[in-house]
Amino acid sequence: MADVSTTDPAGGARKLSVASWFMVACLVALAVIPVAIYAGGNAFWLDIATRLVVLSIAAVSLNLILGFGGMVSFGHAAYLGIGAYCVGIPTYHALFGEFELIATNSGIFHVILAVIVSAVFALITGAICLRTKGVYFIMITMAFGQMIFYLFVSLETYGADDGLVITSRSEIPGIDMDNPLAFYFLCYGSLLAVIYLVHRIVNSRFGMVIQGAKGNEDRMRSLGYSTYVYRLAAYVIAGAICGYAGALLGNFTSFISPDMMDWAASGELMFMVILGGTSMVFGPVIGAALFLLLEQLLSAFTVHWHLPFGIMLILTVLFVKGGISGLLARMGRSNG
């Protein structure tokens, strides 16, 4: 059976207790530490934490299809870009006119647009990608990601490859988006909501089907499942969530460029998922944290900071089955 990772939802409560405690500790730390440091007068770590939380949402959404669904998408960053442009383009037109239909600073509108456009893109490309398997699937998802990348590179109006400055952030009633703390808690709350949402999905009837289809699609079909439609639905959900993360990312950086969505960015998301571990919904958050930390540390020493990442990824895949969270889960088991 081609069961690559250690997706092991069986008796989760029994086995994952160490990992669950670790998750709670991480989430509490995320709520407290960056805020405390910020209150102490240092804005840098809140900045890093915001990026961490936003990328975590993207990575958790990727894990829904990659870890639980076995769909190794190499184009997931496209949705980050789509989401960000769904903030940038309407605010651009709100400022410079034209396209009155979408010209607005309304954050609700931006988010809805980001989610819908991402879902539609996922539906169309997923319908094609999911006809293929294995390495072909990886290649074709990457190709669609690059297609979107080149689309935005060619759009002169929106800055082409120089990118687009978002002059004013989304306006959301009751939230001061220009206040870093308020914005951080919006992102943090979103992460909690997304983790819970994905957790519910993974354990639902739907979740059982996509996990079954990952383990053994032929078996699922002979049991009577039309696996294709379920996988496609999962692909669309993951894209929509990542589009939402993209809308947050656009607001965070106040700047969007096609670089946010090229294949290297997709590779970074995959790195977070695989390093963090695919067997837990929370796993990619650990991966994202490690990624950002390493990026900070290594980029201080060398411009070739991607190289150690590649080596680490290979080591993880070879030796740490199920990534860091898989390791934690096993610790939980051997401790009783």
Partner: protein
């Protein structure tokens, strides 16, 4: 005679130069256990794959309950009452025994676009799944991972999964493969207890075949060379030469 549940007419399948299914016309009667025997590479698995819808035949027709199902997908056939087990054990290793069967139950309990309620607490899935496990006497292993089970137990689990889809006809591809004598005896007993379900049984273990089969078809090089009662097949000279001789 009872009515015909499954029928193939002149079924053909080639892989390059190999004719794996050579003008196979076969009838499985309602309620019988119909064994298909034949040497390695005779085309038995290929036949089952075509019957279950995993493989498209090059030519010929498959009728199930009188309906032409040749073009239907595997999932459609499953919903019509066709279930199969695999020659290579095919259970979900990362799931518990009960989860495995519950997933099979779920396939036939409406659509699965339910995103919120935990499937593992759903009695509509768990209770029937537990019932199936009792039929194959695996109820004590319900909460163990499939990966922790012995080979023989996994084969039993496969039967439970096939049963959980509520089949009229089970296509069983060597359910005793790789089993010791005790496990084989247990499987024979399990299959015997399933009266009312028609079976197409591919099996190498002759004792098991003669214990279970109402009729036997013999396949050699993709061709059916004989079909008849166990006694007839045992007495058939061509069969003895082609197959039983070397197996005995």
């Amino acid at each position: 005679m009872a009515s015909t549940l499954l029928e193939t007419q002149e079924l053909q399948k080639r892989f390059g130069g190999v004719t794996a299914t050579d003008h196979v016309s076969l009838q499985v009667e309602e309620g019988e256990c119909h064994a298909v025997i034949g040497p390695n590479g005779a085309g038995k698995t290929t036949l089952i794959a075509q019957l279950s819808g995993m493989l498209a035949p090059d030519a010929g027709t498959i009728l199930f309950n009188g309906k032409n199902i040749t073009q239907l997908t595997a999932q459609r056939r499953s919903h019509m009452g066709l279930a199969r087990s695999f020659q290579i054990t095919s259970v979900f290793m990362g799931l518990t025994v009960l989860d495995n069967v519950a997933l099979a139950v779920q396939a036939h309990t409406g659509h699965s676009f339910h995103f919120w309620r935990p499937a593992r607490q759903d009695q509509a899935l768990r209770a029937p799944a537990m019932e199936m496990l009792e039929k194959v006497r695996l109820q004590d292993r319900a909460n163990d991972l499939a990966s922790e089970m012995s080979h023989g137990e996994r084969r039993q689990l496969e039967i439970a999964m096939a049963l959980a889809t509520g089949p009229h006809l089970m296509l069983l591809d060597e359910p005793m493969a790789g089993m010791g004598p005790e496990e084989t005896a247990r499987m024979v007993e399990t299959l015997k207890s399933l009266d009312g379900i028609t079976m197409l049984l591919v099996e190498h273990d002759m004792d098991a075949v003669f214990a279970l089969a109402d009729r036997i078809s013999v396949m050699v090089y993709g061709r059916l060379i004989a079909t008849g009662s166990p006694a007839e097949v045992r007495a058939n000279e061509e069969v003895r030469q082609a197959y039983l001789g070397e197996a005995a």
